[in-house]
Symmetry: C2
Subunit: 346 residues, 2 copies
């Protein structure tokens, strides 16, 4: 099917675009009253993730309501651990947690390596979404980075210090790597399934990368990110390692297309570090708490720093649930109305 709006894919491939594509991490979610209505009609978050036609419905909402240039399939990075036999729960306002966690090498042995069909609900949701989108915009598939999944599976949820995960890395690196490899194998099966179901681009979220030192990142995350990139030669891949400013160069050296950046990372510095690759990001989500005038100024400043080509506008993190959707729409329109010729004439 030919895409009517393929700006995202062209920007990801480094091709010239006539305007800057824009979408938001967590655009399908709690900021939209329309999402909350769907969510309220079901028993909980997990039922929504596991009900393909409803997942497809909320995936498409931001395309209709906010006018973004891409859809991202509604799911959660934790489905991968569930496919490996470790069940997660989603508690309203508190976030995800695991009733049972990985505590010893035997727990790691017991985990299975998931196959694509273990994630049939998300793959079905992708098929339904692709059909319903009818080529309006590309559909992004995604997964969590193996290191970030390890953190969730060991901590049982978020953490201030990630002491348990890092204790595993530093006191029993062999077991940590066994776990990372099992997660990686499962993730690759899952992402291949997403590509075959119709995902146009794949994003890998290394949400907890920022807790590692550069050396630890090289050892415990990068090799697994590489395997994932190598397994998806047929789609653009975006790597987003939140907080890992020090890893931009190493990540860009992997066979990926786009490097995601957060608002800590200065755009011009990122340009120098990633060479020829496309950049994505990086507005502080809290900027959207400001006035429309302030959002416009900050968005324009961001675009001027990134430049208009090889660039996908986004926030530097998922949009926060208490953000006014009208402010989000204003951000989207500010990017879309930006006259890139004004930059190129400089």
């Amino acid at each position: 099917m030919i895409l009517k709006n393929d700006l995202l894919l062209r920007a990801a491939r480094g091709e010239k675009t006539e305007r800057i594509p824009v979408w938001l991490m967590r655009q399908a979610g709690r900021i939209l009253p329309e999402y909350r209505a769907v969510r309220a009609s079901l028993s909980g978050f997990k039922e929504l993730v596991e009900t393909p036609d409803r997942a497809a419905e909320v995936t498409i909402q931001p395309v209709d309501i906010l006018g973004v240039d891409a859809a991202i399939i509604f799911s959660d990075i934790l489905v991968v651990s569930e496919g490996m036999g470790l069940r997660y729960e989603m508690e309203e306002k508190k976030g995800p947690y695991f009733p049972q966690t990985i505590e010893n090498p035997q727990d790691i042995e017991r985990l299975r390596t998931g196959k694509a069909e273990d994630f049939h609900y998300t793959l079905d949701a992708i098929r339904i979404t692709k059909k319903a989108l009818d080529g309006r915009v590309p559909l992004i598939g995604f997964a969590g980075a193996p290191f970030t999944l390890l953190c969730y599976m060991v901590e049982g949820g978020g953490s201030k210090t990630f002491s348990k995960s890092k204790r595993l890395l530093f006191s029993d690196p062999d077991s940590a790597k066994k776990l990372l490899q099992k997660i990686t194998d499962t993730t690759i099966a899952y992402l291949r399934g997403q590509v075959e179901a119709g995902a146009d681009l794949i994003q890998v979220f290394d949400s907890w990368a920022g807790i590692l030192s550069p050396q630890a990142y090289e050892e415990f995350s990068l090799p697994y990110m590489r395997q994932i990139c190598e397994a998806i030669p047929d789609r653009p891949v975006t790597l987003f390692a939140k907080g890992a400013f020090y890893a931009r160069k190493s990540l860009a050296a992997l066979p990926c297309s786009v490097i995601g950046t957060d608002w800590n990372m200065p755009p011009q510095e990122s340009r120098q570090l990633v060479g020829n690759k496309t950049l994505q990001g990086n507005l502080d989500p809290c900027i959207l708490y400001g006035s429309e005038k302030f959002i416009t100024e900050q968005t324009h400043a961001m675009i001027r720093e990134f430049g208009a080509q090889k660039y996908i506008a986004n926030l530097g993190h998922g949009v926060y649930p208490d953000t006014d959707p009208m402010k989000v729409k204003h951000f989207v329109e500010t990017v879309q109305n930006f006259d890139i010729q004004s930059l190129e004439a400089l």
Copy 2:
């Protein structure tokens, strides 16, 4: 009084030292059974902070037990907000919280500017500690950075997104700056009191700096850090902005002596960014969960990267409460036994 061990001060001032000084953030605290015994004999954390002879006692414990090259006065960065009229509570395992928070401009107006005598308990603890230390090692005084204090006072505690604080910055910057100035004025009074009571070096902790963009840091933290540095021309000042890798250069341009770094920040990069200033840091506290052999290797690698001069060894964050004190001692001894001539001969 002449110090018998002034390595920390000489390193801070950029003078040559015959070995590398070492101490740990949060060295006076829950890692030591001796601390827990004192703590258990009192009603709570705040009673310990506010009882000068007991605060002095736990301040000196790590000097006796771990052999560190500096003491840091036992207190909490939140005493400053309490001196301004906003009471904090410390909940076991959950950390600090404020029963009442700053919610509007009127709340900011109502806050008072604290004076040195509002912090008499900490100033008394410094006097008692100095006397008891009898010149064995220098005593570090400290305060939180105004931006970090603002976050606590607005959020009421820690936060995943710091949405409330950043909403204030981005939607009402004038009020935010009024609050920051009031905190700064109070902090300066408090730190001047600490210097006059006998603190040999002052460290300012900007614990939440990492949630700001470089531009927001320039606007909402740096000007207040500058005022603090300018108010303490008579002691070395260490600035530690956790997570704010992007601010190292700007911080080093202030009239301070030492830049603290966390384990994300590559030492050689830090050297280039801070010019002639001394560096402090930066071992990942979780390294201390590993074997003694692993700790030795990682500590040696860290020292080789920083170099032996203009350097104060430390962790990149406060030591975590579940760390084995013997491992901490091993880290301290590894630094102290490091033969710096082996480096200088290279």
